[in-house]
Amino acid sequence: MPHCSSGFLSFIRLLGVSLWWLAMVSGVQAAPLQLTTAQATIEVDGKVQHFEATLPYVWDWWHRGARGHAEFEMSLPLQDIPKEPWFLYFLRLGNAYEVRLNGALLDSNGDLKTFDRDDYGQIPRLITIPVGLLRQDNLIQVRIRADHARRAGVASPWVGSHAEILPLYDAAYLQRVMGTRVVVIVSLLVGTIALALWWTQVNPTQPSGKQRDPLYLYAALAEYFWSLRVGSVLLESPPLSRFWWDILFIEALGIWVASMLMFSALAVGWRGRFSVVRLQRALAALLIAGIGCAVAAQWGYRGWLTWWYAGLGVVALPFVALYCWSALRNGSHLHRLVAAALAFNLLVGVRDWAVFRVQMTLGGNTLMRYSSVVFGVLLAYIVFTRFREASAQVRYLLSTMALQVAAKEQELQSSYERLELLAREQERVNERTRILRDLHDGVGSHISAAIRQLQSGRASNDEVLHTLRDSLDQIKLSIDAMHLPAGDVTGLLANLRYRLEPKLQAADIELLWDVDLIDPVERLDTVGMRHLQFMVLESLSNVLQHAHASTLRIEARAQGRWVVVRIADNGVGYDTTRPLRKGLLALHERAKTIGAALVIRSRAGETVVEITLA
């Protein structure tokens, strides 16, 4: 977006030009009279000095680290005595002051005796000279209280008519007071919006507590502390004692610098050699040290504070330099904007430092109060950009959601089909295994037995026929087992009876059928059904072949959770403790496989095989 970026840069340029212009306004010379010399009487720690001083008198320049009282006497000779009220205008006067003209008190503010009390020296003063007070030879007496390191002093005053003085005063007042008010209000507003953003813009996808974006918090902190720092100009009597207020005032600058740097780093996801973590640590250490330095400065060790400022510079300058370098080389659009704002503020800061620390100008204004507003604009830019991106993303997601859902469904469908295919394949394999086993155990063994019978030549025709019929029965039972619904014990027994009916009739055994209609047994699957079929068939074969019984009773009952199948005959019986025959062994084996309990009781006249299914 080259258009947007050039517009923004030109805005910054315009802002710089207007700030420069505002700064220059205070220096505009007008027609009225300016008093530049005075007879000074200075009292510091009980020592009194008399000399002729040049105005403006910058206290900290002449009395570094000291505090005291001063009186300035300025003579004002006039040729014509004005007929209208005149005005006396000081760009700066204080910390507390008293102004007299020809012995008459014109204006006073603050306690002249007690140090470190309210500071009235921060804003321009316009004093009215009533008609009749001025003579041809006039003496202006100014008494001040000067606290140390609080920019005390007396500016060179202007005297003149309403039309001459008011424009000068208004211009200074506009910048010093109104400008400050505007900056404070804007900063508080931006800070509050940033705080609200920090509080409300929670990442809902993080289940572990509320995750907020620290970018907004740093912006809020910067704006709040900046408004505190700048707004102190408007407070003659701060809400805290001087001691604490000064510490807060100094720390506010540190917090502002630290927050701005962190904001800049987070805004672009800073990955430079001076990592965010290291920056954060360095700044935190500086802020903690700042408290000590501020206290030391209160106790007269101003050097500590100087070192602290230097430390702030040592952290900030390399970071800003790296930041700007990286922005120039391969920075994003936002990165370059933030870098420009940082560089701009740095330049303004240097200018302010030169004005106040090097030139010791009395009544000058910091320009940084205005330049820092750029960060507020940047924050707005970030928020708008994010909002636009989020909206675009939401629109994109909404437009593609149907497609994504369809794709997911497709994926699910295909994986389901794959699973189903696998399951079917598995089922086929199981079925094949079962059929092969059936063939092996049933038909196969019968047919090979028939072959042996024929080969041996000893078996009769009937015997071979019997074996072959058995093998056909086996096949029929196998096929029946395939059709039987899993778990249908009643169906299984009914079918077995139907298939064996001719044999039972041939053996002349009376069958007592006592089979209930039983609900399907859940645990019994197709394979289990075949095992159960084998077990019942084996038991019936035993009766038919060995028992010589005249009655056979087949029972099936559901007893609670269990299903009991009982096959009882009145044949000769056998010894169940004898080494198990092959058939009995197989019975036990199959019972174990399907998890059934098998009980065989036998004595002459009664043999019972009881299969209990859970």
């Binding site: 056909l472 029929k476 096929i479 029946d480 059709h483 009914a494 009876r497």
Partner: protein
């Protein structure tokens, strides 16, 4: 004397059945052949008279079911019996629906063959418990799917619909469902539980003959139903003009 037609492609088997029929003095072998084509040709001849058809299902040029349908169509008085290796329910049920009234096992003895044919002519149809179960569930599902609303309202509604269907409305809607009487259902249930005809008859307090007649009539109804159903499906698919539209034209 009942005239018997045998359609079986296995020559050995065909000879066995032919011999079994010939041995019985109450049966007469009308003809024996090994393919659907030959059977159709034989049945096409109006002079040929047949009472019983023994049909194997797996024929070289088609299914024995075709022969059964064809025989029932041209000679409605004849009673087909299916020759089944295993008497397994799928094949038997399909045969019954095609119009067969029973089945005969390939491993039967010659006496068995004749006996089964004669019993069928006297009104008995064989049924295994598994087939009984399938027939039962088929009837029940027919009731449930065709008349779910009437089932909920009770048997009276069922009866009303049945009579309404009787006066030619069937073609317009679903095929005319076949009703299972309470007695028939009980008989089927007992057989499905493994009870023999004799035991079933005793438990039901009827004669064995009655039980057998029940089974045979059930088979008949099933065949009628399946025919109706085929017509219904064909109409639905647009293969045949519906009764109602036919009348409107």
């Amino acid at each position: 004397m009942w005239r018997v037609l045998i359609v079986e492609d296995d020559a050995q088997m065909r000879d066995f059945f032919a011999a079994s029929v010939s041995r019985c003095d109450r049966l007469e072998l009308a003809a024996s052949m090994g393919s659907v084509g030959e059977a159709r040709a034989w049945l096409d001849n109006a002079k040929h008279h047949v009472d019983v058809v023994l049909v194997d299902l797996g024929l070289p040029d088609g299914s024995g079911l075709e022969v059964i349908r064809y025989a029932r169509q041209l000679h409605p008085e004849c009673e087909p019996l299916v020759i089944s290796m295993f008497g397994d329910e799928d094949n038997v049920l399909a045969s019954i629906e095609a119009g067969a009234l029973g089945y005969i096992h390939k491993d039967s003895t010659p006496e068995n063959v004749a006996e089964t044919i004669l019993e069928m002519k006297q009104g008995a149809s064989p049924i295994s418990p598994m087939i009984a179960r399938r027939v039962l569930s088929k009837y029940l599902s027919m009731h449930a799917t065709r008349w779910p609303a009437q089932l909920q309202q009770g048997p009276a509604a069922l009866k009303n619909t049945a009579s309404a269907m009787g006066d030619g409305q069937a073609g317009r809607n679903a095929p005319e469902p076949v009703l299972l009487s309470g007695k028939e259902q009980e008989v089927l249930e007992l057989i499905a539980r493994g009870f023999s005809y004799a035991e079933t008859a005793r438990l039901q307090g009827v004669s064995v003959h009655t039980v057998r007649t029940h089974i045979k009539s059930l088979y008949g109804k099933l065949a009628v139903h399946s025919k109706n159903e085929a017509v219904y499906e064909a109409v639905k698919l647009g293969l045949l003009p519906s009764y109602s539209s036919g009348r409107a034209n």
